[in-house]
């Protein structure tokens, strides 16, 4: 990796020594750190000791990722859970709530030595049975008891020439935390983003009340929805969107949206045959590969041992890794080649998932890019869909004009597209290719399915007798 370090969306952890035959799991970076911290230290230690240790754990992991330590050596993971090589991680373990809250606050902060770009390779050990160059875990307790701050604890072990870099970019599809907490009285685009996302999340978590209207003004309704979200997701329930709450909403929104995107993908592949297409392996391409990747993606959304793959029809190294991971879960020969056995197990797993996901959580799938670039002069059914989506979105974003759904792409439609592109940071050329289409459909899905309420869910507005 070159350039500025960033927080990856996910990290792949090998559950054993590097050369041991073992499964990998792919989890979000904050969840990985919460697990490491809960495994490495005692949650009853003073808070400044906890923070110092967690900064070191974050930096260690980011260093492995930034230097591509394992990937560059041909391994298919980012880090191991062997304490001889890396740091402790116990798949499936419990997480301590106070540690969880600290990590939510500092997961994208890391240590760096002055003059260097990469995250500090912050080694540590317990300091009693094992001593080392680097942080002593029990030593941090003694220093914290004496009143040392997290930074002064860290300089004590790593030297004075280290910085804490804060608010590193996070590689998930989300705007960054705006830097100031959002609360009652604030307004603007960031507030609107929060409102749209919470409404979408509340489809899966109906105790979160709907926010209506979605107007970018942070009122009591928004605060109530935020508080309920915080209660469910183990954040301090203060009704204010600070850094921890911002990113937790972003991560959960991404996870929730993933299922809708897969739904759309499934719709697109409806016409493609689901029969076993004969042997599939690395290097091949086509619809058979696409269907394979779709099944793998759905399975990956429910199995932490299977990493997600792009559904692009090309069987490359990432697809092979996902196939191997799946084969390991089911006790099949992990050769990365999809024969009839692997295919059948994959279809069984996929169908089992469909049976178990409740219908009100599914859906939210929208029409995928029709493959035809839409611009002035074109008449097509997909233009009508585009116009319907834009007009629905215009109800929430008044800077976007409504357009009649005529199916003809004229100047009104072009103006609406440009307004959308401006609002959402796309190139405002008035032309709808795949990127603009996906952005429009995605926003439509968030708004449309964010407004649909579940039985018993407070709709966000008062029903009255007239």
């Amino acid at each position: 990796m070159n350039g500025q370090p960033f927080i990856p969306a996910n990290i792949t952890v090998h559950l054993g020594r590097p050369d041991a035959y073992a499964q990998n799991v792919t989890v979000t970076f904050p969840d990985y750190i919460k697990n490491v911290a809960s495994s490495e230290i005692y949650p009853t230690w003073p808070e400044n000791a906890l923070r110092a240790n967690i900064y070191a754990q974050i930096s260690f992991a980011l260093n492995r990722i930034y230097t591509e330590w394992y990937r560059s050596r041909g391994y298919d993971f980012d880090i191991t859970n062997s304490t001889q090589f890396d740091q402790a991680y116990v798949q499936g373990r419990d997480i301590y709530e106070n540690i969880s809250q600290i990590v939510d606050e500092i997961f994208n902060d890391y240590l760096r030595r002055q003059g260097f770009v990469e995250p500090l390779f912050a080694q540590f050990c317990n300091g009693t049975t094992v001593t080392c160059e680097g942080l002593s875990q029990w030593g941090t307790v003694a220093l914290a008891d004496q009143g040392y701050t997290p930074y002064s604890i860290l300089t004590n072990y790593y030297g004075n020439d280290i910085n804490i870099v804060t608010d590193a970019p996070v590689a998930i599809n989300s705007p960054s935390f705006p830097g100031v907490a959002l609360g009652i009285g604030k307004s603007g685009n960031d507030v609107k983003t929060i409102q749209v996302r919470l409404n979408r999340i509340s489809r899966n978590y109906p105790k979160i009340p709907k926010i209506y209207p979605v107007d970018g003004v942070y009122g009591q309704e928004t605060a109530d929805a935020v508080t309920e979200f915080q209660r469910i997701f183990n954040l301090t329930p203060d009704g204010i969107v600070g850094k921890a709450t911002w990113w937790k909403i972003a991560y959960l929104f991404t996870t929730v949206k993933r299922l809708s995107e897969l739904d759309s993908e499934g719709l697109r592949l409806e016409e493609v045959s689901r029969q076993f297409p004969s042997l599939l392996q690395e290097g091949m391409q086509g619809n058979g590969v696409r269907v394979l990747q779709y099944y793998l993606s759905v399975v990956a959304a429910f199995y932490e041992q299977v990493p997600p793959v792009a559904v692009d029809g090309f069987f490359g190294p990432m697809t092979k890794q996902a196939v191997i991971a799946f084969q390991k879960v089911y006790g099949l020969a992990p050769d990365g080649v999809v024969g009839r056995n692997t295919w059948n197990e994959l279809v069984r797993a996929y169908r089992g998932i469909l049976e178990s996901v409740p219908p009100e959580v599914e859906g939210g799938g929208v029409q995928l890019f029709p493959g035809l670039v839409l611009k002035i002069g074109i008449t097509d059914p997909s233009v009508r869909t585009l116009q319907e989506y834009l007009s629905f979105i215009a109800d929430t974003y008044p800077e976007i004009p409504k357009v009649p759904a005529t199916g003809y792409f004229g100047e009104q439609t072009r103006d609406a597209v440009i307004a959308f592109q401006n609002r959402f940071g796309l190139n405002p050329d008035g032309i709808v290719g795949a990127v603009t289409w996906d952005a429009i459909a995605s926003e439509y899905s968030d708004l449309r399915y964010g407004f649909v309420k579940r039985p018993g869910q407070f709709p966000g507005y008062n029903l009255s007798e007239e």
């Binding site: 005692y42 009853t44 419990d94 029990w138 910085n163 590193a168 105790k207 199995y303 797993a349």
Partner: protein, 170 residues
């Protein structure tokens, strides 16, 4: 991204007029769950909550049957049976633990209690979490990701998924 200062200048923590103070102790929000009354002198109260989800946390699983067992001399003894609510969460369960003071320096006996948790819901593999460590005064959240049965699974012989927690190596 905000950096305290660009390298390679030295970065110093902002000066404070006050002498360094010990950091704030964590106040756990136990949501009203009270410590267990009448515990023996060598025990205090910790807290467990189980969060039952699927789809990597996107989908809560309500109505899951959750059994918490306490390990007494390594034998599991039934402690609580609860159900997950519509967010997938169980209520907060107070549990006996060793005293917190044991965790504050090395060389003491084990400073945490261990529990087994079993989660079961129709349509999913049952999950067992074994040796779940719980500390005095701390809320331990046990996230449980349920995996849906593949189609046509022989449910009689369906495996439990078992996660073993390693004790802290401190």
């Amino acid at each position: 991204m905000s950096v305290q200062t660009p390298p390679p200048e030295a970065w110093t923590e902002p000066e404070s007029d006050q002498r360094p103070q010990p950091g704030p102790a964590f106040q756990q929000d136990t949501g009203g769950a009270a410590p267990i009354p009448g515990l023996p002198d060598d025990e205090e109260t910790g807290y467990l909550r189980v969060e039952v989800k699927t789809g990597r946390g996107a989908v809560p699983v309500p109505g899951a049957h959750v059994t918490v067992s306490r390990l007494i001399d390594d034998n599991p003894v039934l402690y609580r049976i609860v159900e997950s609510n519509e967010d997938g969460d169980t209520p907060l369960i107070p549990v006996p633990t060793p005293r917190q003071s044991l965790s504050e320096s090395p060389g003491n006996s084990r400073p945490f209690a261990t529990y087994n948790i079993r989660v079961q819901q129709d349509g999913f593999y049952a999950v067992q979490n074994v040796n779940v460590p719980v500390f005095s005064g701390v809320v331990a959240i046990q996230p449980v990701e349920l995996v849906p049965f593949p189609e046509n699974t022989d449910r009689e012989n369906a495996d439990n998924i078992i996660f073993e927690s390693a004790p802290q190596d401190l």
